[in-house]
Symmetry: C2
Amino acid sequence: MERLPGFRDFYPEPLPQSDLWSADLRQYIFDQWRELARRYAFREYDGPPLEPLELFTTKSGEEIVGQLYNFDDKGKRAIALRAEMTPTLARMAAAHERGYKKPIKWFAIPQLFRYERQQKGRLREHFQFNADIIGENSPAADAELIALLIDTLRSFGLTQEDFVIRLSSRNAWQEFYGRHSKDESKAYEFYQIIDKLERDNPVESEAKLAKLGITMTSVAEFIQAAHPTPQLAEVMTDLAIRGLSGYVKVDYNVIRGLAYYTGIVFEAFDRKGDFRAIAGGGRYDHLVHLISGGKVTLAAIGFGMGDVVLTELLKERGLVPKLQVKLDAFCIIEDETLREASVSLVQSLREARFAVEYPLGPAKPEKQFKRAMELNPGYTIKLERASHGEIVVRFKNLRTREEKVLNPDEAVGGLRAN
Amino acid sequence: MERLPGFRDFYPEPLPQSDLWSADLRQYIFDQWRELARRYAFREYDGPPLEPLELFTTKSGEEIVGQLYNFDDKGKRAIALRAEMTPTLARMAAAHERGYKKPIKWFAIPQLFRYERQQKGRLREHFQFNADIIGENSPAADAELIALLIDTLRSFGLTQEDFVIRLSSRNAWQEFYGRHSKDESKAYEFYQIIDKLERDNPVESEAKLAKLGITMTSVAEFIQAAHPTPQLAEVMTDLAIRGLSGYVKVDYNVIRGLAYYTGIVFEAFDRKGDFRAIAGGGRYDHLVHLISGGKVTLAAIGFGMGDVVLTELLKERGLVPKLQVKLDAFCIIEDETLREASVSLVQSLREARFAVEYPLGPAKPEKQFKRAMELNPGYTIKLERASHGEIVVRFKNLRTREEKVLNPDEAVGGLRAN
């Protein structure tokens, strides 16, 4: 029985095969994400992994709709596995915005799904760090969010030699389009062409632009000039104050594929250009209004960072930390008549919050010691009968090789002292 | 736009309405689960939330199949959202069992789904703490797993006045059935009747049993005698050694609904009987063999504990901890000419791992202070111009009300000292 194509199993370290996904590496990434969110005072939320299909179809544009993992449930409801978190966040924020002071700074780590034609190695799910600031439309919010993105990537050991955030402006492109075309209904089509400009065949892109009455030259000149909007200039200044200038540049090649962006947009790329975007986001000041049916209006900006590209990048740069099992003590049972006393000792150590393992049945001491070594404990402990028949605990510190012998009721203190 | 019925949104504390689900309470529960798994040396794994339908249909029995959240995907594949974790675990363990030393002690915190007819307040998803020991068939493994279950519930502040684990034995019931009936094909039907005995109408149960040629009297006597099997006796002794006798009793009313159990089965109940089972599990020594198509044979035992019943119980017993926002410092900006220096200070504090918030735009000092109080910081900090024009940082400890003034480059040390 096989798992579905495009889905992942996560196994504990040490992995028996290097092509398996590591549950411990995943947890390391999630822990870093939560730690940086904490420092920046973002609070965690979550929504359902399933949403009504319509939450996505009208709001996000063709980019995401074509890849939705959707189906009809037994009640004939049109359902989609969530492909992005922003519509859920907009729904949740709109429903209870009065209960939270603005700006709302929230983050989530959802698993997201898409259903593309299956390609080798192409996944149908990933986990994504989503952070958003809602209810604040100033460039200070844009800078705060982008600083979080930069510091999150830095927390993994990535430097300004490794990645850069390309900052752009959807509204600068809106103005550009307005100057070159009067057909507002084709604007999103235009953004899609720009979004794919770096990947698509230039001749084909030029032909597509020509159909909209726009020349490739005018587009190329606009990108070349890279003239920052006043908002972009403010964001750059704010990031410079934080000492983060080396991590950002204005680059109008970026426009983002989603329909709902309204202002600044950005993507994080590795400098070598070996990977797809590491993260991306932007301002979406109308989405809460749209999703709440006009009941709530809130400015918003957010980003998403996926675990798959990040994992590939960390592996390529040698930045995956040693993910070792950690155990405080392994209790060796050499004398089976001391098993009961050993199990009782293990229980008392665990109740004192120590991580302790022991053999569930009789086994040779060498085999027990080998098993202990695999689990990387700080100590081995072993009950022994001392000269007058009383039971004592022998502690062996596996780093220093030092040994000590204590009474069983001193064992908790004995581990704590180290 | 509403979320799907039976699904939950999780909001950050403090909750604006008491009927919302708390993301912080969920995280508290997950943290406790992970902490107890760590102490007992269980390692985390995870699988996909979607699996091929057939992984569940032939293995688990009617109990779960009737409630599967299943559908056909765009590729006409029969898919189910996972309703339980055990078949996924069996699949994963079978695929890589040679890479891991036995016993394998693994845990996961999956979100699980079911599609029942919608009843008021009845959920279609929950999160479940799953812990399993694979590759060890001795009662010592049963005791180790049940001790983890007990200690996990105790870690939430629940005592032996609050809950009890009812231990039973599927094989004792198998023997009972073998003594009373020769029709092996009806055995699972019999277990289903026993499983529902406490909930169903006694007259109806008696009639159903009669059809299988079994009297209610013989069943009642068997339950009443509660004669422990040798395995159950060993488990009780092991738990007594750990000082956990007060948390368990033999009770043959328990049999568990899933088809694949083979030995000891158990359920955790609140003593008052106000809630559905808090947790349940048992031994399933044939499932890995079945799911691996006969390639791998591994004994196994596991339990699952859901977050919904647990949350209800903790609330009812007043055991939900105060889930406060925690911030190291809030930086007040009274003098807008000091905004740049303030933002720079915030950045340096965050780089030193402190959680720091500041106002994104100009605001009255009272409003800033009010905002700060909501976020419960250890300190407020504020840049000021001192007598000779130099910039200093005023720290105010909000617990002790003490104040101190430092140079900006001493600020990190100033927070660290406290």
